[in-house]
């Protein structure tokens, strides 16, 4: 089981802040492809540039995943 969080414009476009994924994925890029296939809204939201964090640490598309991970997907940051 993986917990997925969306923030910013991605949260707004998908109309979803969090979801649980029960399928198994070895790497972040496989999970992202799965998420893109959930709906047209998800595909659109993930067609722009985005960043990924796994367990609150910035990650790459090649980062490995394990059961229980929290994966956050968000646009480039704009704080300050």
């Amino acid at each position: 089981m993986l917990k997925v969080l969306f923030f910013g414009q991605i949260r707004e476009l998908t109309k979803c802040s969090d979801l649980v994924v029960t399928d198994e994925f070895k790497h972040v890029n496989e999970l992202v492809e799965h998420l893109r296939g959930l709906s047209e809204k998800h595909e659109l939201a993930l067609s722009y540039g985005f960043l990924v964090a796994v367990n609150q640490e910035v990650a790459e598309l090649t980062t490995s995943l394990k059961d229980g991970d929290e994966i956050a997907i968000f646009p480039p940051v704009t704080g300050g």
């Binding site: 923030f7 910013g8 964090a53 609150q56 968000f74 704009t78 704080g79 300050g80």
Partner: protein, 150 residues
């Protein structure tokens, strides 16, 4: 390692409290404090304010890591960093960064380093509030260029 204070809050912050805390560094010869404010305009005209979203489980840890990096890179006594979230009206304070150091150059550099890293690494997202609705702010290339120069 410098003493570090970091907070993320919806509340207004007190610049006086920041300065008073930094003044407790008896070895300090310089204190530099920066505050970032909500502008009342964007490239298309007037705005009403901002909504600042963040990733609560991650934000504070990222800010602490940025301060630790600044502490390793510069000769600092204390680092104070508070960032606000939620709805912020025009002219409101968004962020305060204060540092104390033996020397002013280190204090100026460290303060800029912290802001450049915060703008590129800390998980905050700004949405500008206008009469026509909300518009998500896009990351600026100039902020990325400032970050890469370090």
């Amino acid at each position: 390692m410098a003493e570090i204070f970091v907070d993320v809050t919806t509340d207004e912050f007190d610049q006086g409290a920041c300065y008073t805390w930094l003044r407790q560094d008896d070895s300090a010869g310089a204190i530099v404090i920066f505050t970032g404010l909500v502008r009342d305009f964007n490239q298309d005209g007037k705005i009403k304010g901002l909504f600042l979203e963040h990733y609560p489980a991650m934000t504070k840890n990222v800010l602490i890591k940025i301060c630790q990096q600044a502490s390793e890179r510069f000769d600092l006594g204390k680092i104070y960093l508070v960032h606000r979230v939620g709805e912020l009206l025009n002219h409101a304070e968004i962020v305060i960064v204060g540092v104390s150091s033996k020397h002013r150059e280190q204090a100026f550099l460290a303060n800029q380093f912290i802001m450049d890293f915060l703008k590129n690494e800390a998980p905050f997202w700004k949405k500008e509030l206008t009469d026509q609705g909300g518009v998500w702010v896009k990351a600026k290339q100039s902020d990325e260029a400032s970050y890469k120069k370090w």
